[in-house]
Symmetry: C2
DNA sequence: TTGTACGCGTTATCAT
DNA sequence: ATGATAACGCGTACAA
């Protein structure tokens, strides 16, 4: 490997001079600088970031941990995070926990041993607490995305889940729906809890009755097996006229199930959900959704993180950004009145 | 930061002994090992991968560079790559070139300075040549994905683009279509060239006439502006009855355009394309496609890469994997006979 | 303006 | 079974 010493020898200067040329620090005569640069070119020199990291005690590496790389919400978010990181000269390591605590634990180990400068992460849920405490213990700055974790104080970017869910219920109620069921992610996830809460409040405000039977809790990720949800739906009597889904992936699973049961959307049942389904829809977007600003989650979260890293010694107050969801009315709701 | 010296001091052993415990190398008495382990626990010791990388001359980092993080083909591929990397104890750095040569160049710089152990990449196109030569010059093992680059010998995973395109034409021809147009990615991309070639051969085999007017070349990424493609379509006389799209994203763009023109698919015009649209489709998959094994691209490519890294000194012959595309017949083609 | 000595945290080599 | 020393490639502090 070509090192600064090889350059130094060939250019008849010291390694220090080469270092200064590379980093544009200190005073260097134009002649020396030109000579060193020429030799670097000739020898195809590339600085060794590993050595640099060791001495500088910073890697210029950031880590983004998401929970579902197949979900367009997270890929769009990743795009925002990547753009912001790049803008500030950081590189981005990348992981996908699959809503799985053990995979998340593995990634935390990687994060720690890699000595990344900071972490942007969507935690798997409340049980992620020890993972986050571990990051804190090791002084790794992090910003949470989309989900709060009780017991952790930190910078965070959230969507307005409660308000968004209420809007979805309002929309359904305005269309004349009275029996509205909800399919939601795990109650160990703060955003799922808030969506449920917003749903309940929306029901109450619209003077609709809520029953626990009308709630089905599962995972936010893709489902391998729809039979359990099928049994839930089977038992409902009377059938709901509409279903609110806690996120986009679940909405698709619900539609898959309805299809199996030969029920049409929205003729037989209406559907709304949180999060949009990404730009690459085969046909005109169909689902009525509370769309979140996925790109902004990543972009703003990353800016917060880098800001925090820049002032890691000061104890600035934690920042919390709450992004509103936008109701996009499309064709998955049937007017009943 | 807690180092092996801190552990060593507290455990009354040398740093070397601590290192041996960590890496399970050499002979250590059970008593010493237990003591060292206990101290490591107490002090929350985490090995410093940076220092390790410097001395071992390997980072255990791999890099995946794709061209469109919003495209489900690539996210699925990424998932495969990640799974394979993890299985072998590697971590994965991640970049998104956006089909853009300059972004690609930036990432090559990152790759070089980071001293990753290997790279898995979908090149932006033939002009990526100098970037790949740069990797070769610096002895960075890499595996190409989806696209060949003339002038570069290396391991590679390809889809059978020619055969896939021919199948799509066959399917259209069998449905009675005679005027088939093609919307394709840049001809500087090998897979786009092969798809065009497969299309032409398919036309010939089915005794259909091909005219250059019926070919529209653009970028494989999302289009900001459909007006140019609109003018192309406008000029066609007679109108094609079907369009073959070079990939999934372009197919969606074509459908967006047709929608603007109030043309229905497949009633007014039929559409087929390369690549599927991912698992999260709002409604039942609609497009008839030549589906590629996206996950396998990533998984097998990663295994090849790691295999290559393990034998980087030997000069084994380059491997080339060609994955077949599978025709999935759905509802975007109207039978004309 | 340029150079010397040292340290970042770890592992390999050689010694005991 | 354990330890001392050097080395990985670079940047900081200080000296010249």
């Amino acid at each position: 490997m070509v090192t600064i010493y090889d350059i130094a020898a060939k250019a008849n200067v010291s390694a220090m001079t080469v270092s200064r040329v590379i980093n544009n620090t200190g005073k260097i005569s134009d002649r020396t600088r030109a000579k060193v640069k020429r030799v670097m070119e000739e020898m195809n020199y590339v600085p060794n970031q590993t050595a640099r990291s060791l001495v500088l005690q910073q890697t210029k590496l950031l880590f983004l941990l998401i929970t579902d790389i197949m979900n367009p919400f997270y890929t769009t978010l990743a795009r925002g995070a990547e753009d912001a990181a790049k803008k500030h000269g950081y590189r981005l390591l990348f992981g996908n926990s699959d809503e799985n605590l053990e995979k998340e634990a593995d990634y935390v180990t990687t994060i720690l041993t890699t000595r990344v400068d900071g972490v942007l992460l969507a935690p798997a849920g409340d049980p992620s607490l020890p993972h986050l405490e571990s990051l804190q213990r090791h002084n790794v700055p992090f910003v949470l995305l989309d989900r709060e974790v009780p017991g952790i104080q930190c910078d965070i970017v959230l969507g307005d889940s409660k308000e968004g869910a209420r809007q979805l219920v309002d929309h359904l109620a305005a269309a004349g729906h009275r029996r509205i069921a909800i399919v939601n992610g795990s109650s160990s996830i703060s955003s799922a809890r808030l969506r449920l809460q917003g749903y309940k409040e929306g029901m109450k405000l619209n003077e609709l009755t809520y029953s626990d039977d009308y709630m089905y809790e599962t995972s936010f990720g893709s489902l391998n097996d729809l039979s359990d949800m099928d049994r839930w739906l089977e038992r409902l009597d009377p059938m709901p006229t509409a279903i609110l889904s806690g996120n986009n992936v679940l909405a698709v699973e619900v539609m898959r199930l309805l299809k199996q049961r030969n029920m049409r959307v929205p003729e037989d049942i209406s559907i709304v959900c949180f999060d949009d389904l990404g730009p690459h829809t085969e046909v005109e977007p169909f689902l009525t959704v509370a769309a979140q600003q996925a790109y902004q989650f990543g972009y703003m979260g990353m800016e917060m993180l880098i800001e925090r890293i820049g002032h890691r010694n000061e104890k600035r107050p934690w920042k919390k950004i709450v992004l509103p969801a936008e109701l996009l009315v499309r064709r998955s709701v049937r007017p009943l009145n």
